[in-house]
């Protein structure tokens, strides 16, 4: 899952910081060095890292930290705040038209995922009842129009196209007229992938923008982009004046540094995250939640939102209450797991659970669904009492459960242990504290600390 590596490294560094009690300048320095390296290896732009660590260091060497009673916790708080700021603050909505169709223009490099993103956005907006049209303005890429027609229709949108012989600017203008006449709520304009240094195509993009006067211009960026992300973003900012970014292919294990760099350099926030090839794998991007996720503090809000899509409101409220009152049982867990598996690829959701990032059993870019089948089998082999109160599961009970589920006693032990730790963490989360990164590291069997040779 994206940000996993950065997440591990930052958590390890911060756990070290937290374990020290009072912090000396040397301690802060050491932590800053490690954070710098972690960010660089996460593909965050070199210059962005320089500025970021400078600001971070200044704050961490200030009274705020050094005179605090819990300097380690202060550092975590500061890193969280700065990281959130780096990615765009509190998150932002699309701008919608007060009358007539809202026009959204999509731009980006070749292969960034624009066409798929257009369809996903169309579906996303369609979910809230909007009537969406798509304009096929990529006349260069072979079969691009066909692709948009296919995925657009799948997304439940109307696709306006004129084949590949017309001029993209004219197609866009024609599509806008049509969207007005047909009284569509939204018109999403797909454009051809283009290099930011291609003057002709960047001119064309500017022309399309001027003709359609979009309410939102979105730059589509591949999450695995390296140092080049900044240059691309800056050029597109100039020519297309984009308002926000759609980050794609976030379901990979790219370190995601591009995401962190773009906002820092252009001031434009990441608005949406595309997390898979299916049309449903698309969500609003919340910088504060992502920062939280990276630091292992989970993203309960997003998780609950997703859950709400699957379960009805009452069930979601029940779940919330159970977590708050610490009445969450293994049976609840099993039910949730079922719901969760219906929500989509687990690898995407795991990061949303506090502390889950560190749970080795569920970790890894590709969650082993077979493993989850085993977990479910173990729980099903427990009596309702055992599921409600795993503390009573000892000795012969464990043997019986293992036999009944076709697993080993070790696996039963492991599930119970990790469930306990998870509950402890949820308790902390619910009482408003960030979970102890050290505890997280322990749960994962000890996150390895990277060793560096200093120059």
């Amino acid at each position: 899952m994206v940000f996993d590596q950065l997440s591990d490294r930052l958590q390890a560094t911060l756990s070290e910081v937290r374990s020290r009690g009072k912090l000396s300048e040397g301690d802060v320095d050491a932590a800053m060095r490690e954070i710098r390296l972690a960010l660089l290896e996460a593909d965050v732009n070199f210059k962005v890292v320089k500025t970021f660590t400078k600001t971070l260091k200044e704050r961490c060497l200030g009274a705020e930290v050094l005179e605090s009673l819990d300097p380690g916790q202060q550092v975590v708080k500061i890193v969280n705040e700065e990281l959130t700021g780096l990615m765009g603050g509190a998150g932002r909505d699309l701008a919608f038209a007060s009358n007539g169709p809202t026009v959204i223009l999509m731009a980006g490099l070749q292969g960034s995922g624009k066409t798929t993103a257009c369809a996903k956005l169309a579906r996303h907006l369609g979910e809230s009842g909007k009537d969406v049209a798509l304009a096929a303005c990529d006349v260069y890429r072979p079969a691009a129009v066909d692709q948009l027609v296919t995925v657009g229709e799948r997304a439940g949108a109307h696709v306006y196209e004129q084949g590949t012989d017309a001029d993209p600017v004219e197609i866009a203008a024609w599509a806008l007229d049509r969207a007005r006449t047909e009284e569509r709520d939204v018109l999403i304009v797909d454009t051809a992938g283009r290099l930011h240094i291609d003057e002709d195509l960047m001119d064309e993009l500017t022309k399309v923008r001027k003709r359609t006067r979009p309410h939102d211009v979105l730059l589509v960026v591949d999450a695995m982009t390296g140092q080049d992300a900044v240059g691309v973003a800056e050029s597109f900012a100039e020519a297309a004046e984009f308002d926000g970014v759609v980050m794609t292919k976030l379901d990979g294990d790219a370190r995601g540094g591009a995401a962190l760099s773009v906002k820092a350099v252009t001031g434009k926030p990441i608005l949406f995250a595309s997390t898979g090839e299916k049309l449903e794998a698309f969500e609003r991007f919340h910088p504060d939640r992502m920062a939280s996720r990276i630091l292992g503090m989970g993203d309960m809000l997003s998780l609950i939102e997703k859950a709400e899509q699957q379960v009805d409101e009452r069930q979601a409220e029940d779940l919330q209450k159970k977590l708050e009152d610490d009445r969450f049982t293994l049976e609840d867990f099993r039910q949730q797991m079922r719901q969760v598996r219906k929500m989509g690829p687990l690898s995407g959701l795991i990061g949303m659970l506090p502390g889950m990032g560190a749970m080795k059993q569920l970790k890894g870019a590709d969650v082993d669904e077979g493993e989850l089948d085993r977990v479910e089998a173990i729980i099903l082999s427990m009596t309702p009492l055992e599921r409600a109160n795993p503390a009573i599961v000892k000795g012969s009970r464990r043997k019986r459960i293992a036999a009944g589920s076709g697993t080993k006693v070790q696996q039963v032990n492991q599930l119970i242990k990790q469930f306990d730790q998870m509950r402890k963490m949820m308790r902390q989360m619910m009482s408003g504290k960030a979970p102890d990164p050290q505890q997280l590291a322990q749960m994962a069997g000890g996150a390895p600390r990277p060793k560096y040779r200093r120059r």
């Binding site: 060095r33 710098r36 390296l37 660089l40 290896e41 996460a42 593909d43 070199f46 490099l109 070749q110 292969g111 960034s112 995922g113 260069y140 890429r141 072979p142 079969a143 691009a144 066909d146 692709q147 027609v149 296919t150 995925v151 799948r154 290099l195 930011h196 240094i197 591949d222 695995m224 982009t225 390296g226 140092q227 080049d228 992300a229 240059g231 691309v232 292919k249 379901d251 990979g252 294990d253 790219a254 370190r255 540094g257 591009a258 090839e277 690898s347 870019a365 590709d366 990277p450 060793k451 560096y452 040779r453 200093r454 120059r455």
Partner: protein
């Protein structure tokens, strides 16, 4: 603040490959493709002449100009003034900005530094820069070898993450094989998942003068490969190029599917696929290394096609891929037209990055 060296566990104390002979001749199409026993019919076009190749080199330099400008400025500033701590730091910065990654950057810089300190390279800007080019060329030629098209028919499998340029590259390769060597090519539309993928490949087949074999959408990719090889045999075609759906290396089930496609091909033709190439987008950061590694585990990758080099990205990730995985770059893509494909030449690459 200088870049610290990579974690001890990851760093290898491997020897970089022996001195790469700097020649004045770029890699030719004849060198990059191994056609086996085949007598290639002249298609009326002479293989690239020396003049043409130099023209290509000039165009290549021009298309890489933006990236090289930036790197040259960094390099000039660091190497032409003084050879000191700051210079090494700036070189590190330049290589990191080129996406070379921390471990490979550290190795290259440390090696050059050692050579200057030991006196084997004289401490003047020009000499150091030339030596840097040599080292970069050496690193990027680790594992170097031609594309094996000696099979009859030769089967080439294209793999890679979504959006990296597989399909476009296949079109370009087909066109060059036909143009340079007069070979007949069959394209297999093995991407049965993506909307209009077969249509996209179909258009390239038309442009390149190749035949297309496809199935209905949602069909089995292995079956398409099978049909394509059978068709090639029946018609006596020279090369089969199999397109596959873009997939993230983190999707275990899709990597399994890829391995399955290979097995289907191997069952039909024991040594096939004879060559498996992974397309890597030049804008990709450190994840490119991961991609190459995981795809290699599932599909025995023989080489890299580095695409979209016409942008500003420097594609330095291939240094890391060659250095740490021993997987060489064999082709580079420099645009969206059929002609925009070139054999990878390590020295050209390093020099184009640094040249005035």
């Amino acid at each position: 603040m200088p870049l610290t060296a990579p974690p001890a566990g990851r760093r290898r104390s491997k020897q970089l490959s022996p001195v790469h002979r700097i020649t004045n001749v770029s890699t030719s199409w004849q060198e990059i493709f191994d056609l086996g026993a085949r007598e290639t019919a002249s298609s009326g076009v002479e293989p690239e002449s020396e003049t043409q190749r130099r023209g290509v080199l000039r165009r290549l330099r021009e298309s890489l100009s933006k990236s090289r400008q930036a790197l040259v400025e960094e390099i000039s500033a660091s190497l032409f003034d003084r050879i000191d701590e700051e210079a090494w730091e700036r070189l590190e910065e330049a290589l990191i900005m080129a996406d070379a990654g921390a471990p490979t950057t550290a190795e290259v810089v440390e090696r050059l530094e050692r050579e200057v300190e030991s006196g084997s390279v004289s401490p003047d800007g020009e000499a150091v820069r030339e030596r840097l080019i040599e080292i970069l060329a050496e690193v990027s030629s680790n594992g170097r070898g031609p594309i094996d098209l000696s099979g009859e028919p030769a089967v080439l499998l294209m793999v890679g993450v979504n959006g990296t340029g597989k399909t476009t590259t296949i079109g370009k390769i087909a066109w060059h094989l036909s143009r340079e060597f007069g070979l007949s090519v069959v394209l297999a539309a093995g991407d049965t998942y993506r909307a209009a993928a077969a249509e996209q490949l179909g258009e390239w087949a038309e442009r390149a003068g190749a035949e297309l074999i496809r199935s209905a959408p949602g069909g089995d990719p292995g079956a398409v490969a099978f049909d394509a090889i059978a068709a090639a045999r029946a018609r006596g075609a020279d090369v089969v190029i199999v397109d596959t759906a873009g997939r993230l290396h983190t999707q275990g089930n899709l990597m399994d599917e890829l391995a399955k496609v290979r097995r289907v091909i191997a069952k039909q033709m024991p040594d096939a696929p004879h060559e498996t190439l992974i397309s890597i987008d030049a804008t990709t950061g450190q994840n490119g290394l991961r991609q190459a590694q995981i795809f290699s585990e599932a599909a025995e990758v023989n080489g890299v096609v580095l695409t979209k080099l016409d942008g500003t990205a420097k594609g330095g990730i291939v240094l890391a891929i060659a250095n740490e995985l021993g997987i060489p770059v064999k082709l580079i893509g420099t645009g969206e037209s059929l002609e925009d494909l070139h054999p990878f030449d390590p020295e050209d690459f390093a020099r184009a990055l640094l040249a005035e």
